[in-house]
């Protein structure tokens, strides 16, 4: 009986590591060649672990803003790697996994040095060293962009005293071409009822606050950030992927919403019965309509938006009627007797029957 217990315990112990990984949703055969890998003989596959093991979805904005790489501190000023800026850029092309190519399930992604030894191939032929790993990550893209491979682009040569770990050098040699956003793109299609689709690019980007990556997906940075950039930064223009891009916000039912429109026929907010004036005309759509992709009618009472905004900090100039000193002393309700956001009633103080005129403003009698 005791023997049986021992055998059972041994079996459980030997199986434990297997279970551990299975819990993480990994198939043993992804890394091991034998059925029962043990600590003594892990029988790992010859060609390292697979690169794309990930179940933890990384998010661009969760990572650190700046990462300081100071391995060569004796020679160079530490490299100040602008992590968040890169994370946002790479969201368009492959996402975080482009660099964080190995993230075991249910764990944080390991740091580069956990797998890539500082000694390089001298330590292990099979694994690229830390130097190679860093440089491949950076230069893989940077070299594509401008062909620049000078050390000093990222490594500021050290002069004089050793810095106390504080990074000052910035990898900011941005001689990448600035993106010139197109104002209007007119697509010619084969759709008989309306072959022309005018697309107001800047309007979409600025007014609707769309990120580049909302439309430009799985595209390398170099597609836009190169001198003499390609004329089609969306890649091969296919009917399917173009439609899918628009359908993210626009409905599928009404083809004439896009097809056959005139290029000058821009959306006019007045058509909704709420012409935008003064301050409102300068707002981005999302300021009122929230983060929803599809804009729906809002409650038109002012307090539906301005509920929080009437307090002492409210800047009356934003409504297009800057208050003079006298009126600035009053409380909101003294004039807006009919409710916040409603027309002011001057009769509370002025008995000459005057009506407030925005063009004339205050203090004109």
């Amino acid at each position: 009986m005791r023997n049986a217990l021992l055998v059972l315990t041994a079996l459980i112990l030997s199986a434990a590591p297997t279970w551990a990984r299975q819990d993480q949703g990994l198939d043993c055969k992804q890394c091991h060649v034998c059925a029962q890998p043990s600590k003594a003989d892990p029988c790992l596959k010859q060609a390292a672990c697979p690169r794309h093991v990930e179940s933890t979805k990384l998010k661009a904005d969760e990572g650190p803003d700046v990462v300081i790489l100071d391995d060569l501190e004796d020679l160079y000023v530490p490299v100040r790697f602008q992590h968040r800026a890169h994370a946002r850029m790479v969201a368009m092309d492959g996402g975080c996994e482009t660099c964080h190519h190995y993230t075991p399930p249910n764990s944080d992604h390991p740091s580069c040095r956990e797998c890539h030894a500082a000694g390089g191939h001298a330590e292990s032929l099979k694994q690229t060293g830390l130097k190679g790993a860093y440089h491949r990550q950076c230069l893989g893209c940077h070299n594509d962009w401008d062909g620049e491979t000078k050390c000093a682009n990222c490594h500021e040569k050290k002069q004089g005293e050793r810095l106390g770990g504080e990074a000052t050098g910035v990898c900011e040699h941005s001689n990448y071409a600035p993106i010139e956003m197109k104002e209007l793109i007119v697509f010619s299609t084969s759709y008989a009822q309306g072959d022309v689709v005018p697309f107001h690019h800047r309007n979409h980007a600025e007014k609707y606050e769309l990120n580049c990556s909302n439309c430009h997906k799985e595209q390398s940075c170099a597609r836009c950030h190169t001198h003499g950039a390609e004329s089609h930064p969306m890649g091969e223009l296919q009917k399917v992927n173009l439609h899918d891009t628009c359908y993210q916000c626009h409905g599928k039912q009404n083809c004439s919403e896009c097809h056959g429109r005139k290029a000058t026929d821009l959306f006019d907010h007045a058509s909704t019965g709420w012409p935008l004036q003064s301050y409102h005309s300068r707002l981005q759509c999302r300021a009122c309509h929230g983060d929803a992709n599809i804009y729906v009618a809002q409650d038109r009472t002012c307090s539906s938006c301005h509920a929080q905004g009437w307090g002492a900090g409210f800047d009356h100039t934003k409504v297009g009627a800057p208050l003079d000193d006298v009126h600035g002393e009053l409380s909101c309700e003294d004039c807006h007797t009919a409710g916040m956001g409603q027309k002011p009633d001057c009769a509370g103080c002025h008995d000459d029957g005057r009506v407030y005129d925005r063009r004339r403003g205050f203090g004109q009698g």
Partner: protein, 305 residues
């Protein structure tokens, strides 16, 4: 010897040469402990730091780093010369916009044609894999330059008094001291991997197997010209990276087989001299017969008179 015997002899000599040919063309293996370098051209970024490091280590004329940051040199394909033992060339990337780069230097053949062509053994394959050049033996015939299938050895033509044949040394001093070659040491992306050739070969095949989309299933230098110490893996066909398409046999095997075949067991020279002797003997006999006939004729005439 009659005509029949003569043909027999010639035939036997021919068979002998052919047999010698077959026995001499056995496959050449790298020295068992040979080192090598695996070049992963898919990772190379064309930074030319290897060129700079090479010039530093070998005390070559061009030294400042700035000279190697100039990418204008990529406009034309370059070959190593007497002052630059390695050069990086740029090639258009296939199936993608962009470029790929490939470092060129002596591949340190397992069966070096240069060493075979050398009359004075100034070039020799070392057990550590390097094809080493000895300027004290060299007589400057430059047969090595003609023999090399990769056109690597260069000559110091401008040096009037003590010109040398110049090529990658495989940093023999460094690797003998347990260090890595200069170019390997500096490569920022570690696309040059230094190690035992056998291990590099299995590593190369592992990588190809693990990332079939990234690599072509071909290790250049595994079989080319009998194998080379430097090995290359790439994502596109090697001719598109400036590598010549070569057979599995070293050019040295062809020339050596002919040379050694002819002189094998001294059969051909003996046969040649035997044939010449036969011809001479036949010739002199013909003269003798003719002389006898002439004499008999004269005698007859005399008798007739």
């Amino acid at each position: 010897m009659d005509r029949r015997d003569f043909l027999k002899t010639v035939g036997a000599v021919g068979v002998g040469i052919a047999a010698a040919d077959a026995s001499a063309s056995t496959a050449v293996h790298a020295p068992p402990d040979a080192f090598g370098v695996l070049v992963d051209t898919t990772a190379c970024i064309g930074c030319r730091k290897c060129e700079w490091a090479c010039n530093q280590v070998n005390e070559l004329p061009v030294q400042p780093l700035e000279e190697f940051e100039d990418k204008a040199v990529f406009a034309a394909m370059r070959r190593p010369d007497a002052g630059n033992f390695t050069v990086v060339n740029q090639w258009p990337r296939q199936e993608h916009e962009g470029n790929v780069w490939a470092k060129v230097q002596c591949l340190h053949c397992n069966d070096p044609a240069c060493a075979s062509a050398c009359l004075v053994s100034a070039l020799e394959k070392q057990p550590n894999g390097a094809v080493k050049y000895d300027p004290w033996r060299c007589m400057g015939c430059r047969y090595c330059m003609v023999a090399c299938p990769f056109q690597i050895p260069a000559y110091q033509y401008a040096d009037a008094l003590s010109p040398e044949v110049r090529k990658c040394t495989f940093c023999v001093e460094r690797i003998s001291a347990g260090e890595r070659p200069g170019c390997v040491e500096i490569c920022p992306v570690e696309c040059l991997i230094y190690g035992k050739r056998e291990e590099l070969l299995s590593l190369a095949h592992e990588r190809i197997g693990a990332y079939p989309d990234r690599y072509l299933d071909h290790v250049y230098g595994e079989h080319e010209v009998g194998g080379t110490s430097w090995l290359y893996i790439a994502g596109q066909p090697f001719p598109s990276l400036g590598f010549p398409e070569l057979g599995e046999q070293s050019p040295a095997r062809i020339t050596e087989n002919i040379q050694h075949g002819i002189f094998r067991r001294f059969i051909a020279p003996v046969a040649l001299y035997a044939t010449l002797a036969q011809v001479m003997w036949l010739g002199s006999r013909k003269d003798e017969v003719a002389a006898a006939a002439h004499k008999a004729e004269q005698h007859g005439e005399e008798h007739h008179e």
